[in-house]
Each structure stands twice: as C-alpha cells, then as structure tokens.
C-alpha cells in the first residue's frame, strides 16, 4: 500500500502496462524528456527509452493518426492530447477514423489505442484550456469513454483501457492531479463499464464524474447532517455505461440528480436522465434535476470560474430546494 497522487497514478498505470506488454508504446507532445506538461509521464522515458516514449511535433492529427495506424497493425498505443480542448483539432481522426474503423470495414480493423487527455476546469486557464469534453466523445459510436476520480481508479481503469481492444478516450482531470489516495501494491486492473456507489443513501441518487465526485460527496455529507440520505455514484466510465447500477439506485431512492462539469446541453447527465425517464419512470418520486456548468464558455477569472462549475454548495442547495 502506498499513497500516490492522481498525477503519479497516471505514470504508475502506464508503467505497469508497459512492463507487461513490451509492444505498448506512447507518443505525445513533451511527454518524454519533459515528463509531460502536467508531469503525468515522469520517469517513463528513463524506464522505457525513447523508442517507446516519443515526443512529437505539435501535430495532433499526426499523433492520433500514428497511434491509430500502429494500433491497427499490431502495436497497441497510448496517445496523449495535452489538453482535452485540443481534441477539437484532431476530432476527425478520433470520431471519423478511429471510432468507425472497425464497423465500416466489417470488423476487419481493430484499433487498440488509448487517448489520454487532461480535462476540466479549475485552473483559471480560460475558455480554450478548461473544458470538460467527455460528451464530445460519449456521443460518438465506437469510442469508449473513461474519467476516473481517484488515484487507484486512474491506475485500474487506465490498465483496463489499455488492455481493451477498442479505442478508449481517457480523461484525466486537471484539478484532481494533486489529490492523493491509497494504492494497493501489485498489479491493479479494473473493469470498464462499472460505476461505483461511493456513498450509500436512500433518499436520492447523486450521479457524478471526475472532479464532481468529491464535490457530490461533500454535499452528501452535509445533506446527511440535515437528514437527507443521498446515495452518490461515481460513473467512472461513460461508455460502456453501467446502467444497472444507476437504475438500481434510482429505483431505490426515487430521485435522481446528475452533477456535470460540462456545459449544460447534451451532456452525459442528459443521457442518464433520459434512460431513467424512460426505463424507471414509474419509480421516480419527483423531477430529475441536472446540475451543470451553465451553457457558457468558461471564464478565466477565479471568481467567475468558481461560480460556473458546480460546487458542493450548489449540489447541496439544489437537492435541499428540490427535495424540500
């Protein structure tokens, strides 16, 4: 058992898998010598050498293309896209090529690759370096989408993503990099498509992802003091989606809240809401409420950014107001 922070867990998970599979390679901007601009790949160049951990030009399309072409010819790959906002400059490669390759070739092509990227706000980086874009990927058939909230989940889900024979977009949250957690010794491998009930409750279900998980938990603590028992679920992977766990919880509590960092429209919260509103409608005891960043680009000033992204307070207050 060791304590690692989320940032270190990334390198830990990659190293675990690179030791296991000598063919696994990784590429991205400033990932080798520099250890990544978020220091999430520190030590990998030293251990695995420049043939397996490679710096690239600022050419995101070339990065994803190279990772995809290698993956479809027998070399599993990890591509880093420095900030998830930059998924937009290689969106075609990801959504039109990587995601669709297997289906449109009648199953001939496999693309075992992981796209790792730093996601989310809280760093006062402004509109082009702070977005939560997991919905950009969730809405694309053929992509798996993972977004862990703790160091141990980073390792286990990263391992599962790397071992998965299909393309996975793996979102690392910038505002969680410094957070710490216990990590067991030995190999850690988790399972995609499994949500975690991180707090049991009976009055309502709060579903959260990544940075929103600790905030939901904090809100739930305070709700508990006030007599509202909230169950908190960390979705962990958006595709595949663990609807069993989600629906089971809503059936039990009768109330659903989703807490999303992405802007309001068409987020994963809307997807989960829609599944619930169709499949367990008769179990609902009241409206489903989404708590999201407003539908605005993210501002850079501290005061404004903090106001934009859902806080524990906002989660707490929304639940109190609507369960009242």
């Amino acid at each position: 058992m060791a304590e690692l922070n989320y940032r270190e867990a990334v390198a830990h998970g990659i190293a675990q898998e690179m030791r296991r599979d000598p063919l696994l390679v990784m590429l991205g901007e400033d990932i080798a010598d520099a250890g990544g601009v978020f220091k999430t790949t520190v030590g990998l160049l030293d251990e695995f050498g420049p043939e397996r951990v490679r710096d690239t030009p600022i050419s995101e399309q070339a990065i994803i293309g190279a990772a995809a072409g290698a993956a479809m010819t027998g070399i599993p790959t990890i591509a880093e896209i420095m900030f998830s906002d930059f998924i937009a400059v290689c969106f075609d490669m990801i959504v039109n090529e990587v995601a669709k390759a297997r289906y449109m070739t009648g199953g001939q092509i496999s693309v075992p690759m992981v796209i790792r990227t730093a996601n989310g706000g809280g760093s006062r980086f402004g509109a082009q370096h702070s977005q939560s874009v997991e919905n950009w990927c969730m809405m694309i058939p053929g992509l798996k989408v993972v977004a862990p909230s703790t160091p141990v989940d980073v390792i286990g889900l990263l391992a599962a993503s790397i071992r998965d024979p299909d393309p996975v977009v793996f979102f690392e949250h910038k505002s969680l990099f410094a957070t710490k957690g216990e990590v067991p010794d030995g190999e850690i491998v988790d399972t995609l498509g499994t949500a975690a009930v991180v707090r049991q409750g009976t009055d309502c279900t709060i579903v959260a992802l990544a940075l929103m998980v600790p905030r939901a938990l904090e809100a739930a603590d305070r709700l508990a003091e006030e007599g509202i028992s909230a169950e908190v679920i960390d979705v962990r992977t958006l595709v595949p989606l663990d609807t069993e766990t989600l629906l089971g919880s809503v059936v039990k509590t009768g109330r659903l809240y989703t807490v999303e960092e992405n802007p309001r429209l068409c987020g994963w919260g809307a997807e989960i809401t829609s599944i619930v509103a169709e499949e367990v409608f008769w179990d609902l005891d009241g409206p489903i409420v989404r708590i999201t960043t407003p539908h605005i680009p993210l501002p850079s000033a501290e005061a404004l950014e903090d106001l934009a992204i859902p806080s524990a307070d906002r989660v707490h207050d929304t639940v109190v107001k609507t369960m009242g």
Binding site: L23, V25, E51, R54, T56, P57, S59, E60, Q61, A62, I64, G65, A66, A67, A68, G69, A70, A71, M72, T73, G74, I75, T77, D92, M93, N96, E97, A101, R102, Y103, M104, T105, G106, G107, Q108, I109, S110, P141, G142, D164, P165, D166, G193, V239, P240, L241, D242, T243, E244, I275
Partner: protein
C-alpha cells in the same frame, strides 16, 4: 461582374487553359524492369480498367447505390506502385480506392458485391465503395475524408519500425488533398520519425469539380512542397506504369533500408467525372481528348509489343480479365442484401455494439 470573371479567366470553362499531358517518354522503355513485372503491370491495368467500366455500367443500371469514384485513366499509378511492393506491405487509399484494392490482389467478387451493398461484399455491405479494405491483403482501408489516412499510414510505418520488419506503408491521395492540414502534419511527422512510408499523390488535375491549380499556391502541389519537408521532389508520368514503378521501387528501397519517407507526384487524369454521374463538363474543350490520347493502357500495350511480348498473350490477358469481371458481376448480383442482424455487429471487438449493461 462578368468582366471580372472573364479577367480572372477562371470562371468561364471555355477560357480555362487546358492542361494536356506530357508526351510519352519512350526512354522509360529502357528501364531495367523485368518483362514479367511489366506483363503483370499490364494485367493489373487491364483488371482495373475492366472492373471500373463494369462498375460504371452497374451504376448506370442503378445497382450500385450510394456513390463511387472510379480510377478510369489512372490505372498506371495503382499498377506501378502495386508491382513495386511486397504482399506484406501496407496500402492506404481514398474513396477512389477500387483500383488500389484490386491491385493488392483482393478478389473482384467481394469488391463488386460491396459496391452493390451485398452480404458477400468485402465489408459485408457496411462500408461501400468508399471504404474498401482487406487487411489480409495489406489493404488497410479506403478513407473518405480527405487527408486523414496520410496520418494513419504513418502509424502503420511506425509499427513496422517498432516490430523491426522492413514493411513499408503507401498512402495514395489526390492533388486537392495537398491543401488540407493533415497532409502537412503527416509529411513532417514521417520525416522527423524517418518512417518507412511512401506518399503517392495522384495528380489528376481536379478536385471534385474545381481544378486544383486554381486553389493551390504552387504548380505541383506535392513535388513543389517536398523540400518543405526536406524531401526530394519526385515528379513522374502517372500514365506510364514503368515510370511509376521505377519511382516507387526507389522509394521502397529507401524506406526498407531505413532511409525514411518519400513523396511522389504522379501526373495523370481521370477519364470520367469525379464521382458517380458527374459528367465532368467543367473540363475545357480538348483536355479530355488530349488525355484520352495518352490513355495509359494502349500506350503500354504498344510498349509491350515493342519489347517482344506477343499480341496473343496480351489478348489472352484481356480475355481472362474480362471473364473474371463477368464472374465477379454474377457473384455480386447473386449475393443477398445483408441481413438485419448485421446492423448491430462489429462496433466493438466482441463483435457487438452494446454501450451499456
């Protein structure tokens, strides 16, 4: 505004300068290419020509749905490159990929069936004309969004490098594709990583309906840009299979020996329109005729005769190919449309498409 237009000289088809082919370079006859390779290239060109003509006919009969982009007139490029690579090499093509697929030895039947959207199609009817792929033949896909596959070809070349094989990857693309960002990223990346990849620009002078030189800053969209990546400018007659073969051979040799990528620009012409029913009316008078005069196949036919191949052998090849095209047509027509179950398969490696439990 009509004065402007006449002045610009761009918007009046009659005023457009026609861009005729260069004359045949008969010196290519003297290239040291084994005769059997040449005969093979002849056979390939016949295959591609006859297949595409049939595809066109089937389209006119409304049997090919969707779209299709034929390589009629461009056969020498596909044949020349295919003859210069090994079965374990990789190719990446565009939506205009029938020729490149067949040139790798993929059966005409499955390709034809795919164009018709049948269950025996190469992709089970899921991909269609624009996405022909046969991994077992090293044909790693046809990509319908301009430019992307140049980046992906790099990855296949990188993979060969990692695995320590001496495989090469070839990416075919058009003149118009040289202006998209992915072209630039792919070229720079390939050079920096010294990847065994060969970029083959089939310059057929046109994008969809617009001549590429109206929207390209340099006369030779690929060759003139090679130096921007530290590469040699290679410009060849794309209607002469020998010229293409020779350029490809050199590039393959360089790539296999660790010398990195090459960029080849092959000048050619599509005899028909861009896709499907496009009659190609936007081409200036005389241009099509001039290029039809330089049809790669009759020229090559003559060359082989001069090199001592018997007319009878060439006729036999033609007939054998014709028979195979007929067989493929029958095969395709006889195949059923894909069953409903196919819809939900092959999104994931487990064969299915479940995104939830």
């Amino acid at each position: 505004m009509s004065t402007d237009r006449a002045e610009a000289g761009r918007h009046d088809f009659a005023l457009r300068p026609s861009r005729p082919p260069a004359p045949v370079d008969h010196a290519n006859e003297d290239l040291p290419i084994p005769l059997e390779t040449r005969v093979e290239m002849y056979r390939l060109q016949q295959e591609l020509r006859q297949f595409e003509k049939r595809a066109y006919d089937l389209f006119m009969q409304n049997l090919v749905k969707g779209t299709s982009h034929l390589s009629l007139g461009q056969e020498a490029v596909a044949a020349g490159v295919a003859a210069a690579i090994r079965p374990d090499d990789y190719t990446f093509a565009t939506y205009r990929g029938h020729a490149h697929t067949l040139a790798r030895g993929v059966g005409m039947g499955p390709v034809m069936a795919e164009l018709l959207g049948r269950e025996d199609g190469l992709l089970g009817g899921k991909g269609g004309s624009m996405h022909l792929t046969s991994v077992e033949h090293g044909m790693m896909g046809s990509y319908a969004i301009v430019g992307a596959h140049l980046c992906i070809a790099n990855g296949a070349a990188w993979s060969a490098q990692i695995r320590g094989t001496d495989q090469v990857a070839v990416a075919f693309f058009g003149d118009g594709t040289t202006n998209i960002g992915a072209f630039h990223e792919a070229l720079n990346f390939a050079v920096v990583w010294k990847l065994p990849v060969i970029f083959v620009c089939e310059n057929n002078l046109y994008m969809e309906y617009t001549p590429s030189d109206f929207v390209t800053a340099v006369p030779h969209p690929a060759a003139d840009r090679a130096p921007a990546y530290g590469l040699e400018a290679v410009l060849v007659d794309g209607n002469d299979a020998d010229a293409v073969y020779e350029a490809a051979r050199k590039a393959v040799e360089l790539a296999r020996s660790g010398g990195g990528p090459s960029l080849i620009e092959a000048m050619t012409y599509r005899h028909g329109g861009h896709s499907r029913a496009d009659p190609g009316k936007y081409r200036p008078d005389g241009e099509v005729d001039a290029w039809l005069e330089r049809d790669p196949i009759p020229m090559y036919h003559q060359r082989l005769l001069r090199l001592g191949v018997a007319e009878g052998q060439l006729t036999e090849i033609q007939q054998e190919v014709a028979q195979r095209v007929d067989d493929a047509t029958e095969y395709a027509k006889a195949s059923a449309p894909p069953g409903d179950a196919a819809l939900m398969t092959d999104v994931w490696a487990d064969g299915g498409s479940a995104w939830r439990n």
